[in-house]
Symmetry: C2
Subunit: 418 residues, 2 copies
Amino acid sequence: MSHTAELIAVGTELLLGNIANTDAQMISEKLSALGITVHYHTVVGDNPQRLAEALEIARRRADIIITTGGLGPTYDDLTKQTICKAFHRELELHEDILDTIRTWFETKMQKKMPENNTQQAMLPVNCTVFDNPVGTAPGCAFEEDGVHVLMLPGPPFECRYMFENRAVPYLLRLTDGVIVSHEIRVYGMGESSVEEKLHEPMTRLTNPTLAPYAKTNEVMLRATAKAETREAAETMLEPLIRQVQDELGDVVYGVDVESLEEVVSALLRERNLTLSAAESCTGGLIAKRMTDLPGASAIFRGGVVSYTNGVKAQVLGVPETLLEESGAVSEPVACAMAEGCRRICGSDLAVAITGVAGPDSDERGTPVGTVYIALASENGVICRLYSCGRGRGRGRVRTSAAQNAFDLIRRFLLDLPL
Amino acid sequence: MSHTAELIAVGTELLLGNIANTDAQMISEKLSALGITVHYHTVVGDNPQRLAEALEIARRRADIIITTGGLGPTYDDLTKQTICKAFHRELELHEDILDTIRTWFETKMQKKMPENNTQQAMLPVNCTVFDNPVGTAPGCAFEEDGVHVLMLPGPPFECRYMFENRAVPYLLRLTDGVIVSHEIRVYGMGESSVEEKLHEPMTRLTNPTLAPYAKTNEVMLRATAKAETREAAETMLEPLIRQVQDELGDVVYGVDVESLEEVVSALLRERNLTLSAAESCTGGLIAKRMTDLPGASAIFRGGVVSYTNGVKAQVLGVPETLLEESGAVSEPVACAMAEGCRRICGSDLAVAITGVAGPDSDERGTPVGTVYIALASENGVICRLYSCGRGRGRGRVRTSAAQNAFDLIRRFLLDLPL
């Protein structure tokens, strides 16, 4: 039997725009892997009447309802009460859960449990309790009239833990068949061109399917197959993924990888090489992204954020005359930054980025988005000029410059055209 | 007359969890400032039938419907067609819009417009056209039976531009009275403690109101007032904000500011001081956040990401003996990093961060989350020990370490207890 889920996020902070509904994104992605289709997300405020209305609509069109939020200890946390009313259940105190919450406060927070946290131990009669070792709000689930209702806490870290470790085991008991999907990541080709090259499989196929998603600065293709077993689904996907790789060529930088820096890190690790980074306009973004990955210290030695000419000269050893003659945003300075960085950090490779992030041009009138990226290795230094961000603001120039730098390193390590 | 809006985001990529619905967050925040209440967000896939159902539900409970997404040139972009069917309107070709799109391709993308982009110039009869100078998809709006329907493109950059510059002027003609809100940012006190201290205004007040929002590593309070004029609303808010500041003290780091780094940057600018950063476990996060802000070069000179001991020693000049005796994660090393960074970057202040981000303890068994933060100035160097992240993973340790560093600098600059 196939299932349809609806996600209901509860929280006025979502309707006021204080936070984005990232819980829905996380849960949707994982439900898809379980073969559970999601047709709607709904967001309501901390308002029992409107939550009740959303529940009424959801139970008519889905057989799994997953709520996030509204399980906290404060006066406006009303999810459990409202759901129980809608599904005619009572709430009861779970003494063991109360003990767990009390212990959590005493050990993790080193203080006594405030009285109002008691209400977090009130759960529906005859529910499956989802105990929460990473926060104070337990979740729960029950079935009523063929509809499964699952309640999860709203804070993203807790929600993720509780979904993976509590909701997934519950849901696995309900599903059969599998959906398997793989993500093909593309850098350096726009969505329209990708679609043109892959028009036929994208529009003709029904199982497996191939669908494009534009991400910031890149395109992701998702190939999905539904079958009895994982093996059968994989067999359906394998030729499709090969077709995509053949059509698109070396702009495909990976399958089921998270990012260009993940691919660069893996390549460095395989080749036993280290990297360092000298960053001007990206201001630490390369270093930040490299060190977001656990175990980075084996391949990333560090770097210099040379946001001012003084630091370029004194720390990286870029000759002052070069800075004066060519300007900070220039090929010779990018090369000197890369070579200086490689020398002082003692790395095998060093990447250097200098450019104009905006909002204004530099004092020489170099337009916003102009970025030089240099890569130094034992074989010398290469440099490329990029136009980043397409007038879409400072953040986009920086992100795009970092993406280009990672792609340049990837191409260098794989001996692809630079 | 007061208005109620409902947001409908269209896109299977949202239901598959490929992206979060950040458009809804952005629009909600701005609608709130216009005095337009949002009761629901809905997300549907690229499915005309389910979009039609969502429209039917929305038009019963809101008088402003704003859709995002589904205005692209591909076969699954069906928002306009579906809305026109639901509201009994025809689509017609707008020649001038077609010219604009064609020009956009030729000038911005330097290529010929693909034929399928023609459908982006098909718009409802008698609509207000929202031309789009930052992308190819124009938006539009019309009124039918007292319901205003606004269609905006989905890509976040385009959506933001189009909302601010096209939808806001349209909506301003519909509203009267204003809602004014101010955000009070708190660092260093948990949500429960904040609520305890402010229980009375949070629960008793109806206009103005005070509501808490937990953000990553901090708390935000939103004070909101509804009145005839902006001035009247401000008069209602002023004593409430003062009360919050009196109750919470110096953990309030700002009102209507975006972040601790924004406050630190403003303080540095006022005092005509410069900063640099030596980062180990945060790996460039401080530099990245400082340089996210336009004009950073006047106050942030740069820094060193000393992710390995080699870089700490050779670039920052931390004595090798110190690294061997005390270990990289220690007070003496943090202090030496800060002093070295200040010296080589030539800044007035230098902050240094060394800690264990995880997932594993360091080779001396220092637990994950242990972070030393040092701050060097012309008066010498101070250092504080923090426990960051509360076992919530590598990302949280790094974010929390960065937050603590910014707060330490803020407190130092304001002469507050450190």
